[in-house]
Subunit: 253 residues, 4 copies
């Protein structure tokens, strides 16, 4: 079955900064979607901040198996109602890939419950990613380590809950380290944070990065049908209890 | 060193419902604080929804080692700015005990990132709590199992991230089960959710419940000084990098 | 791609105890394999304690995607060398389903590192399993709760490391609870412990149990190719370091 | 209350290799014990491989709150019966600090259940440790990062179960990274693995390392009384069940 991916892009830098616009003439989201569509198992389309409902209508989310999220300078412009909607979709089973500066996106902070803060430096230094579990689905075909010649640095401490699995850790030329590939489950949904993806470097043209994105989409796809009532808190009346009981005591209801 | 506890109470049922007012004439928060103050290592005071800033001013939180939270019918009346403040205090190292219907409190949903939903039934049935790890700090002195003669039922699925440790699981007479005592770390803060505590039953007069609350306060106290800059995302300029680097590439800054 | 399953059976009770032999004339392993083979995605065969190398030769394990393990009275007869071999296969990526009294199998204790102890009672009482995460792969098609009319009781505390995900919790008529469905990752391998499966009750003829076993096999299948060098501790000589370094200091080698 | 520490040393390199003997004239264990004894809350003594029962008699373990373990070239000489005994003590609540090459000690592999393998290089290169959670008990007083001028390198993938908390990650001059400070709970016991500690460099004279060891001892101390029956699997007869039940069905007992 084809995995239906929605690639969400903030789509601001591409128009405001020549260096980004030249690097990603179809937008970063356009490049990511193009990459994913190379894989016969994946069918990717895009959605951006500027579209009505940020392109994330109820219908779009209902038909999305995995959502990828790249944002940076306009996190605050994302409507809280859309964040609620995306969170519900994740809890129901939609996969979520949070990319690079998306660490400070409302949806990531919402799902993590922590600061999601980190150290950073934009100096085009070298990064080497190490795989902590070469047997993980997301690391299939990826060597034990690989390099990005020029990247932004993100450094620890990274304000996240302990990941279920720490798939990649980065080494930076300037001396820092970072948990660059982390997985969590929230409700029925699978979440992967992946660090590389800076707007002024050609990260999304790197073949190993492309392979990891494809692997991550396959890993994050729903494990079954949507858990539609994930947010319900059903009352089970005494006469519907699995075992017979007699009612005792007071109530404020 | 004395552990400074702030016992937060929603303080609504006690005034609106005679059954609750009679059971807890000083409020549920009053009873919890009284219990904690029996322990020479603990110094507890109360704060309620109705006070300015819900009694949780910056100064109060700066001087609170552990906050306990009981709310039910007025979760929506808690100011989001105060929720932000409590969340920051937890990430910085303040302990948090979330009690019973506090599972739907804004602060708990904020820190968990999930639905926090559950099944429920108010029939005064019997509950038996089982300890999954008798060696845990919170279970010290607690028998392998103990009973509450009349309680509200909470049933699985409980919409939480996998706990770091599942200390108690409940058996209900009506046939359900529930993860009733769960721990998580978020930032430097330790969080304990504890299920029992229904407003119309004398739960907070039960000695085993009282022991668990005291144990949980001791477990949740800060492990050191506050991590004050937990939310900062500091820029590390290239000339301050731990290792010498040469700057390459563009920037949108 | 077909999932190749090896169903391992201790195969002792079936011959020693009439009640078991009558219930499972082809052995418990035979019944489990038959069930799994109903699924077109699965190809199951059996192996037993009494075969040379317990039926778990290097070749068999190399061609097994998921191994299921049922043992009870003869845990001590399993050769340590075979336990080593199975552990290595799991760390390399083979899935493992540990069933019922397999909680005390050498291979489970080896992979958990804990006591794996529990309370028990054999009284044919009722068990009701609750699903903690209806969105989990292993719970697909399984109702929020289901009953087994007559089972052995296993009770907490269960001496295991905190599971990655607690998929099922059991309620017992006699008053206990148990974490009946738990997952862990060890190396590249996925492990599922599933409690029901007592030898004197027709558990493996129950359709919901059968569905869960099929789901669990699909969940536990390897995420990629075997991580063959999972146990290696390679030396990286100074002249092969990713970054150029100069050697300093002494050595005992 | 004083924390009673037993510092276990393999005590082989110190006698076989001049470079180690000169650096640690009282043994590495002697130096570690001396450091810990500087703290008024700690009372440390030593035990070594060469003593009867490796110095880890039942009485010694019964009176040990935290055991530290350094071994390297003689892991195979540790008696399995002593490993069983140490494992039981940990499950009952004794803390365990596993140091450096102790990653391959029988007791660590036993408690982890995984390969515990890693990459390595002995070139005296620079290591910089980063703290992932400055609010953690073990990181109190430790800066966000600190350097060791000359160390052995350990590199990922490190074959461990996902740690409960990853307190430190190392950056190596030669280009690798490593999860250098990791915590787990097993039964009632708390375990901390700490990477630095190579025999040919003066690691245990470094003040930050010394602070971390003292912090780790305080973190790992038992949370209460020993869980003495942690390995028991008690039978609960039908007439002792918490709820009345009628016995049904057969039994092999």
């Amino acid at each position: 079955m084809t995995i239906r991916v929605t690639v969400w892009g903030e789509n601001v830098h591409e128009h405001k900064h020549e260096v980004v616009g030249k690097l990603y003439p179809e937008g970063m989201h356009g490049q990511i979607a193009k990459t994913l569509n190379e894989d016969p198992e994946i069918e990717a389309r895009t959605a951006t901040l500027q579209e009505p409902e940020h392109g994330l209508t109820k219908e779009v989310l209902a038909n999305t198996d995995v959502l990828t999220w790249w944002g940076h300078c306009a996190h605050g412009d994302v409507d809280d109602a859309i964040v609620d909607r995306v969170q519900t979709a994740v809890l129901q089973g939609m996969g979520l890939l949070v990319l690079h500066s998306g660490h400070f996106a409302k949806i990531f902070k919402r799902l993590m419950g922590t600061s999601c803060a980190l150290k950073w430096r934009e100096a085009g230094e070298k990064e080497r990613l190490w795989c902590c579990n070469p047997g993980h689905a997301i690391a299939q075909g990826v060597p034990h380590s690989f390099e990005l010649e020029h990247t932004e640095m993100y450094g620890e401490p990274f304000g996240i809950p302990t990941p279920d699995e720490n798939v990649f850790i980065s080494w930076f030329q300037g001396g820092e380290v970072f948990r660059s590939g982390c997985t969590w489950r929230r409700g029925a949904g699978k979440i992967f944070y992946f660090r590389p993806g800076h707007e002024t470097y050609p990260i999304y043209y790197n073949e190993t990065i492309q392979l990891i994105l494809k692997n991550a989409v396959k890993w994050a796809k729903p494990e079954g049908t949507r858990w539609t009532d994930v947010r319900d808190a059903p009352h089970v009346p005494a006469d519907k209890a699995p075992e017979p009981i007699t009612v005792h005591g007071g109530s404020v209801h």
